[in-house]
């Protein structure tokens, strides 16, 4: 379409509202978070010291890196950080190991089945996240479904410690984010040119060999998209470590929540958010180029 004389005006008629909305409700809030992360907690409304303060001399800026220094000095935060990274890395890998064969099988299924199988993957992803995490409490707890079944079968004599530990957090993460992994993998595998595999077979490659040297390399963009898509929100996960984890399995998202809701330390919570964002900046910048390209 040629950009006619009226078209700039028309463009901004379309764009002005969503652009202004996103600037106000997505970009400006980050600036405020950063500003408040430099403040101090105080008793009052709001519970943080103002950025600009007035004393006998005039206006001056009150900002300090004290919250960040505190995050570095208390090992609780550092451990929560490491936990988040470790849990997320392991869960992303397991999601990939379960999700890849599933996506592959769906992509190779007969046409009529493909839609149905895909719908079955999407369905739990639309149901309440909270309820899916809650379901695991009933399964894993001390007198839960799994322990009761194992006891009844005589396989164990005392309940296994299945919940409020690293194991249950890991299961919760894999379970909740598996559909996010399968969908981009499927999208890539579905477009794959299967005649390449036939060519490899004709040239004498065994199925596994063909998979390793043809299918897997060609599906790497889907692997990358899926991994990034689950990694970023998982790092900040709150509900799963809160409901399924124990005191030793803190993740950074739960630390932020507790600082805010339990300790009412807004500036420290803001500093945790900034620190988390710094950790996620690299994966976000990779995926945002991908997303921007996908949208564009």
């Amino acid at each position: 379409m040629m950009p006619g004389p009226g078209s700039i005006w028309r463009r901004w008629a379309v764009l002005a509202l969503p652009y202004a909305w996103l600037l106000l409700f997505f970009l400006v809030p980050f600036v405020i978070v950063f500003k408040i992360s430099l403040a101090d907690q105080q008793i009052g409304v709001p519970p943080y010291t103002p950025f600009l303060a007035r004393d006998d001399g005039g206006w001056h800026i009150q900002a300090s890196a004290a919250n960040y220094l505190f995050l570095l000095s208390d090992s609780l935060y550092f451990r929560a950080y490491l936990n988040s990274l470790r849990f997320t890395a392991v869960a992303t890998t397991i999601c990939l190991l379960i999700g890849y064969p599933m996506a592959y099988a769906i992509a190779r299924a007969p046409g009529a089945w493909r839609t149905r199988l895909l719908l079955l993957v999407i369905l739990p992803f639309w149901t309440s996240f909270l309820i899916r995490v809650y379901a695991w409490i009933g399964l894993l707890k001390e007198n839960g479904v799994i322990n009761n079944a194992l006891l009844a079968m005589g396989l164990i004599h005392a309940p296994l410690p299945l919940i409020n530990n690293a194991f249950s957090v890991q299961i919760g993460l894999v379970y909740s984010y598996l559909p996010y992994m399968i969908l981009p993998l499927y999208a890539t595998l579905e477009k794959l040119d299967w005649t390449l595999l036939e060519a490899a077979a004709d040239l004498g490659a065994r199925p596994w060999r063909a998979f390793w040297s043809v299918t897997l390399p060609l599906s790497l963009p889907g692997v990358a998209a899926g991994a990034l898509l689950v990694f970023i929100p998982m790092v900040g996960e709150f509900v799963i470590p809160d409901l399924l984890g124990g005191p030793d399995n803190l993740m950074i998202g739960k630390v932020l929540w507790d600082e805010f809701f339990t300790n009412h330390d807004w500036p420290l919570a803001a500093a945790v958010a900034v620190a988390m964002l710094a950790l996620l900046l690299l994966p976000i910048s990779v995926i945002r180029r991908r997303l921007a390209k996908g949208v564009a």
């Binding site: 764009l15 652009y19 996103l22 099988a105 993957v121 639309w126 309440s128 509900v239 807004w266 949208v295």
Partner: protein
């Protein structure tokens, strides 16, 4: 089409068992007569009756539904504009920033979005007196921001899947831009609009974290009630509630998929992927 190998078939069956097993256990135990959630004491619909008498849950459900209705509709309007802009305007000042802003809420951890929106509302109220207090209104604003992104992505993907020449032809024939949008574009993207609205609605109904940050003392949503009661321990009433929610979602999603997934004979009208 070749048949699936036995190994793949086994992986598929195990994968679906993993996805649906926990959900099935919630549904089964919602019909348990015993108060102890995990001891089976016979079939009963007792907990569904309790649920009907639980005013707190019903109020929260009503709050959640009204927030979801408003925010999904707001997301639809803003997200359609954003998706249309991204798909149809190849170049404009600030396009890069706009694309990033549109996509980012999709992947941002909820605790960060929630905290940053709350701090914005507090700062705005101190500076301008608006929004006066926090509750349903501020949750709705927050959910519109989240839903906008989902709608924009779905709408942009749909717009890119069909040929722009249809719109250009109408323009060449002298139709005004808004009429082209109404007569040509809108019917073509209608399935994406339905999917986007539904997605935004579901996200809003389901959200615990962002709503907890942005609410005030006046508004309690359904996920907040579920969360605080789950923190106390597993409760049979929550199982019953979960089953009802699952049923509702299944009906909605399967209904929507009929709308969105092409029928066999209508498939020719659509361009694949």
């Amino acid at each position: 089409m070749k048949r699936l190998s036995p190994l793949l078939l086994v992986m598929l069956v195990l994968g679906y068992a993993f996805l649906y097993g926990p959900i099935a256990s919630v549904v089964v135990y919602s019909f348990n007569a015993s108060r102890l959630v995990t001891v089976w004491a016979g079939f009963s619909v007792h907990w569904y009756g309790e649920l009907l008498r639980n005013d707190q849950i019903q109020d929260a459900a009503l709050t959640s539904l009204s927030i979801a209705l408003m925010s999904a509709t707001g997301s639809l309007v803003l997200g359609t504009l954003a998706g249309y802009g991204l798909a149809r305007f190849a170049r404009f000042r600030g396009r890069g920033l706009f694309a990033v802003l549109t996509a980012s809420p999709l992947i941002m951890p909820e605790v960060i979005t929630g905290l940053s929106l709350l701090l914005l509302f507090v700062a705005l109220e101190r500076a301008t007196g608006w929004p006066n207090g926090r509750g349903m209104f501020t949750i709705t604003l927050a959910h519109i921001t989240l839903g906008l992104s989902y709608v924009a992505v779905v709408v942009a993907a749909r717009l890119e899947s069909f040929d722009i020449s249809l719109e250009e032809a109408a323009l060449d024939l002298g139709a005004r831009p808004f009429k082209v949008f109404r007569v040509i574009t809108l019917p073509l993207i209608a399935p994406a609009l339905a999917a986007g609205w539904l997605l935004a609605f579901t996200l809003s109904v389901d959200d615990l974290v962002i709503a907890s940050f942005t609410t005030g003392p006046a508004a309690t949503t359904l996920p907040m009630v579920i969360f605080s009661s789950v923190r106390m321990g597993v409760s049979p009433q929550i199982n019953a509630l979960a089953t009802l929610i699952l049923l509702l979602v299944a009906v909605l999603v399967i209904g929507a998929s009929r709308l969105i997934v092409p029928k066999k004979n209508g498939a020719a009208a659509r361009t694949p992927g």
